[in-house]
């Protein structure tokens, strides 16, 4: 059990800098998800923690120990790879035992740990099979089993579910979460899937182009996104963004000319409104011309444009609605659910 501290981590390949100073403290037993679009540097960051990539500058501490110059095996970590990286010529048992064998643990101890991990993951009946005889979900379990038997200080997961089909992914997601709570091991999990990130993490670190955009609990990110990037990344369907201007009387003027109360500054701002926070109201100031409906059963997604402009917007209405195309609907939004960002920097106001 250990805390993991990242201090001002930089990574460059030649003259290209891919991480521009990433910091964050991860508490003992915490489950942190690093999330971001592809190419944001999240996998690189994880591999730096694992010791598979060199650290250009900065510091990684595991349990108070600086591990910058330690080999991966000496860092007391275990990693689960996207393609599982099981040794194809070894049985499941051998795969799980390999690391322990190298560490020179006594046979009986290895046997005990492998059986214990196999029981936790319910893969006991597969122990003598080869990886190629297993399905994707089973391989994923074996990969986790290999991590568990090491009894590491930190678990690292590199998009472990992206090779599974959608249904299995949801199931494994829950299992990973339960497993982590049960073992109480500090975990870092990389994914590009925001739903996965929201459901798994105690806290989320949102990375964008090598910068930390925000580091907080899922609800913090949802309720108070620190920037336009985080606001757009977290939540499904994605947040609507509208340019507006703060005018006299604390009002915000939309492009359509309508005004909303609650301006936090003067001048141009970017407004963010989550589709599920738009409340249908025939008198509402936000008027959307409907183009397409998406019927999800529990709710209806209304796609359209802000009246008088070409701004695409989505609103989510609870229940089933039949609305003809071209009709204009009015919406309200509560001012505490109206997000305002600086139009130039994208930071939250």
């Amino acid at each position: 059990m250990a805390e993991l501290i990242l201090k001002d981590l930089h990574k460059s390949y030649g003259s290209t800098e891919v991480l521009h100073g990433v910091s964050g403290d991860i508490a003992d037993g915490e489950f942190v998800v690093i999330v971001g679009p592809s190419g944001c540097g999240k996998s690189t960051l994880l591999r730096m923690i694992a010791g598979l990539e060199g650290i250009t500058s900065g510091e990684v501490r595991i349990g108070g120990r600086v591990v910058n110059d330690l080999e991966p095996a000496e860092r007391d970590i275990a990693m689960v790879f996207q393609n599982y990286a099981l040794y194809p010529h070894m049985s499941v048992r051998q795969n799980m035992a390999y690391g322990l064998k190298i560490r020179g643990l006594p046979k009986a101890e290895i046997e005990r740990r492998v059986n214990e991990a196999a029981d936790i993951l319910e893969i006991r009946q597969y122990l003598d099979r080869k990886p190629r005889q297993l399905s994707g979900g089973q391989r994923q379990r074996v990969a986790m089993g290999r991590a568990i038997v090491r009894e590491p200080e930190v678990f690292l997961f590199d998009e472990p579910l992206s090779n599974l089909d959608a249904k299995l992914r949801v199931q494994m997601r829950l299992e990973i979460r339960k497993l982590q709570e049960r073992l109480g091991v500090t975990s870092v999990y990389v994914t590009h899937d925001q739903v996965e990130a929201m459901t798994l993490g105690d806290r989320l670190m949102v990375l964008n182009a090598g910068h930390v955009e925000q580091f907080g609990t899922p609800l913090e990110l949802y309720e108070r996104p620190a920037s336009v990037f985080v606001a757009g990344f977290i939540g499904s369907p994605a947040m609507n963004f509208l340019p507006a201007e703060g005018i006299e009387g604390g009002l915000l003027r939309l492009e359509s000319g309508a005004t909303l109360p609650g301006a936090r500054g003067a001048g141009p701002v970017t407004l963010g409104m989550r589709p599920e926070h738009l409340i249908a109201d025939s008198e509402g100031p936000i008027r959307i011309r409907v183009s397409v409906l998406e019927q999800l059963g529990s709710n209806t997604l209304v796609h359209g444009t802000l009246e008088g402009t070409e701004r695409e917007m989505v609103a989510s209405l609870p229940g089933i609605h039949q609305i003809p195309e071209g009709e204009v609907l009015g919406f309200l939004i509560r001012s505490d659910e109206l997000h305002q960002f600086d139009a130039a920097t994208g930071k939250r106001l």
């Binding site: 694992a50 010791g51 598979l52 080999e71 991966p72 095996a73 000496e74 970590i77 275990a78 990693m79 790879f81 996207q82 393609n83 990286a85 099981l86 040794y87 194809p88 010529h89 390999y98 690391g99 190298i102 560490r103 190629r132 290999r146």
Partner: protein, 283 residues
């Protein structure tokens, strides 16, 4: 594609049978010649059906009273020499190319690509091209008439190095990373992961290299002067020349048959692995 045309079936079978006959007939003649006594082999027409002297000839050939009036080593010794040479070449080539491919693929060292190309260039320098200098070196080292001299100069192999390099490149990086996290050092990774994963390729290469080693002619001819070091392939030629009387075809053909045997055995027994090694891509 499945086509059902009787005419084509017959034609393709005919072509195939013709091909088999063309290859098999000389071997049949060899076998027939090896089963008659020496006198029958000097009479025309030559026999097309086997005689009854096969095992006598085999005994005489293997244990050396076969070819009269020569100082040739018994064939069992020549076969042993050939076997030692072929095995040393095959195993030596595999070990060296595995190690050099491992170095080139998994280590970053100065002039890495330079070394790779140096190895690659030796493809253009087979024994025949460098035979004089190589002979000089081997002679100066006092390796004439020795197993080391027979095999060592033929051991370096660009082809095998290149092949193993390609094999290693198909093994995903995660395998290495996962081994590193498991705490395996480089040689441990090589031994526990790389070798088992390239097992079928090693087998395929072994078959090819064993036959290559077994069939060496020019090099053994040059560096062995002692009859106890001759190999079987070069001795067949010597048998033709050495006898002052007419060649004893039954013995010579028996020797040829025996010379064919080990490569055939290797191919037969390693066929499955051989085919797998050349076709398998699933890593």
């Amino acid at each position: 594609m499945i086509e059902n045309r009787p005419f084509l079936n017959i034609l393709t079978h005919l072509v195939m049978i013709l091909g088999i006959v063309m290859i098999a007939f000389p071997i049949w003649i060899t076998f027939v010649a090896a089963s008659h006594d020496p006198i029958r082999m000097t009479q025309v027409p030559l026999p097309l059906l086997p005689g009854d002297q096969f095992f006598t000839n085999m005994k005489n050939t293997l244990f050396g009273r076969g070819l009269s009036g020569t100082e040739i080593a018994p064939v069992w010794l020549m076969m042993l020499n050939s076997l030692v040479m072929a095995l040393s070449i095959a195993i030596g080539k595999i070990v060296i190319s595995l190690l050099s491919a491992f170095a080139i693929v998994y280590f970053r060292f100065p002039f890495r690509m330079g070394f790779f190309w140096l190895i690659f260039i030796t493809l253009m320098l087979p024994v025949e091209v460098r035979i004089l200098p190589t002979f000089q070196v081997v002679a100066d080292l006092g390796l004439l008439n020795s197993y080391t001299g027979l095999s060592l100069p033929l051991i370096a192999s660009a082809t095998a190095t290149f092949m193993f390099r390609q094999v290693f490149l198909t093994i995903p990086d995660e395998m290495l990373e996962s081994a590193r996290i498991d705490g395996a050092g480089p040689m441990r990774f090589f031994w526990d992961i790389l070798i088992p994963l390239s097992r079928t390729n090693i087998a395929a290469l072994f078959v090819i290299l064993f036959i290559y080693g077994w069939n060496q002619y020019l090099w053994p001819l040059l560096i062995t002067t002692d009859t106890s070091m001759t190999t079987i392939v070069m001795s067949i030629k010597q048998m033709l020349e050495s006898a002052e009387q007419s060649p004893e075809w039954n013995i010579i053909m028996m020797t040829a048959l025996l010379a064919m045997l080990p490569p055939i055995l290797v191919v037969v027994f390693m066929q499955k692995l051989f085919v797998k090694g050349l076709t398998e891509t699933d890593k």
